[in-house]
């Protein structure tokens, strides 16, 4: 029989402590972040989709069209090509597209590039109704960045 009474006693005591804890929580300030009004700040290492880095003065991409990032990508979402530079040394980038629908943000491409030509962008609210909006042309994006920098 004592199991019966101790059950009732400990049981109701645990129920009451539970209630007190939630009661105390009831009066505490709100913890959640109201998204559309308070916009979260991304940490410096946040990995958005990749983008080209242009050197400061000329604004040309540092990329030398070596294709390392294209090979390093596990889901083959980078496609780039270039043409011979006039001066005959090295290549100039003509076309650099990222198929963001297949990208898994793993960062292998940025790591494989040893000409400091790629970095992660910081924008995270990318939304669109059309799938081909995510086939991004990086060159055009770099030109826009340069234009709005002037």
């Amino acid at each position: 029989m004592n199991g019966y009474w101790s059950d009732i006693f400990t049981g109701s005591k645990s129920l009451v402590t539970g209630l007190l804890i939630t009661a105390r929580e009831f009066f505490k300030p709100v913890v959640t972040e109201q998204y559309p009004y308070e916009v979260p700040v991304m940490t410096p290492r946040f990995r958005g989709h990749i983008e080209l880095i242009g050197n400061e003065e000329t604004g040309q991409p540092n990329c030398v069209v070596c294709g390392m990032c294209q090979r390093a990508c596990p889901s083959t979402c980078i496609s780039l090509d270039g043409r011979k530079a006039e001066g005959g040394k090295g290549k100039v980038l003509t076309h650099y597209t990222l198929d963001f629908t297949k990208c898994s943000l793993c960062g292998l491409c940025v790591e494989s590039c040893n000409f400091n030509a790629l970095r992660f962008s910081k924008d995270y609210n990318l939304v669109s109704f059309d799938k081909n909006d995510f086939i991004m042309d990086m060159l055009k994006r770099l030109e826009e960045q340069n234009r709005c920098k002037q």
Binding site: L19, T22, F26, V30, Q34
Partner: protein
């Protein structure tokens, strides 16, 4: 009690308004209360602090298509939600809101209330059975066994109260407890009733939580096991009626507890009795319903039945005997 038609019409409109507003805004209170306990904000977009949220929910529910799945027992499927609402609203008739506000003070109002409560249980059973969904059938079987197990201790505690105040009429019971909280059935200092009556209050409160299928006894509508219980196949206003029925059952449970134990419209210090005290008590009790729901996990069907048969019924029987003895002695 003049029986002019105007009085009936006014009370009809008043009670329907009370039922509709309560059913809608209890949803809002629940979401706000839950949010506050979980330290978030709750609905705050629609209208100031989300006050228009119930309106939007109502419009959304009404605008959705009322889908009657094929292979379903058509008539019963449509009747069940309405059947869930009818007893909830009709039991408001006998609730004594205050001295002069009270639709009808019938002699056997306590009996009527419990008859209507079991009627809503039938609605749950029909709703679950008619929708032909396996989950719904399991949930309605659970709901019936749960309501059955919890009506017995509830009735036993009500018998003690009726014995104390000598009449089955809710108005008399409330009148008998007027004049300060020491007259309330829960404390009742004279004749030593205070010894056991608070146990009756706790037993009655637990049973009313179980009666309205609210957590921690929401076995019927257990989201994580039976998806949505007997309401799975209902969409738009079918589901809406069931939800409003559930919220109204909570309101009636709270009104009954206040009238039987907390002295109806009586002011705690016996000064200014009035309907506002009645409403304050109801909303405190409703808040505890919400508070309990967002604190505890769900019990399992065996524990639920054990709790009732092994703990609540013996306690209410003991309470019945002790009060009877005390009445006899003093």
């Amino acid at each position: 009690m003049d029986t002019s038609i105007w009085r009936a019409l006014i009370y009809l409109a008043g009670l329907l308004a009370f039922a509709g507003l309560n059913a809608a805004y209890l949803g809002w209170c629940e979401r706000k209360g839950a949010a506050r306990i979980q330290r978030r904000i709750g609905p705050c977009e629609a209208g100031w602090a989300g006050l228009a949220q119930p309106l939007c929910d109502g419009l959304k529910l009404m605008s959705k298509q009322l889908l009657v799945p094929e292979g379903v027992d058509g008539i019963i499927f449509r009747v069940a939600p309405v059947l869930a609402m009818i007893p909830a609203i009709t039991s408001l008739v006998v609730i004594p809101f205050s001295d002069n506000i009270g639709a009808r003070a019938m002699e056997l109002s306590v009996l009527l209330l419990f008859a209507l409560a079991s009627l809503s249980m039938i609605a749950v059973l029909l709703g679950g059975w008619a929708s032909g969904n396996k989950y719904a059938i399991i949930s309605s079987a659970r709901a019936v066994s749960q309501n059955l197990a919890y009506e017995i201790p509830m009735l036993l505690t009500v018998i003690t109260v009726v014995m104390l105040s000598g009449s089955m009429n809710l108005r008399e019971i409330a009148l008998d407890q007027q004049g300060g909280f020491w007259h309330w059935n829960i404390f009742r200092l004279e004749h030593g009733h205070f010894l056991t009556m608070w146990i009756a209050f706790i037993v009655f409160f637990i049973c009313s939580v179980a009666e309205t299928n609210r957590a921690p006894f929401d076995m019927a509508e257990a989201e994580s096991e039976l998806v949505a219980g007997f309401m799975t196949e209902y969409s738009s206003m079918g589901f809406g009626l069931f939800m409003m029925g559930e919220y109204l059952n909570i309101v009636i449970g709270a009104c009954l507890t206040t009238t039987l134990f907390l002295g109806g419209w009586d002011c705690p210090f016996g000064l200014t009795p009035g309907v506002w005290w009645f409403l304050i008590k109801i909303y405190i009790l409703i808040f505890t319903f919400i508070w309990i729901r967002w604190t505890y996990p769900r019990t399992q069907i065996y524990r639920l039945l054990n709790l009732s048969w092994k703990i609540l019924i013996p306690f209410s029987l003991a309470n019945l005997l002790i009060t009877a003895a005390l009445i006899k002695v003093f």
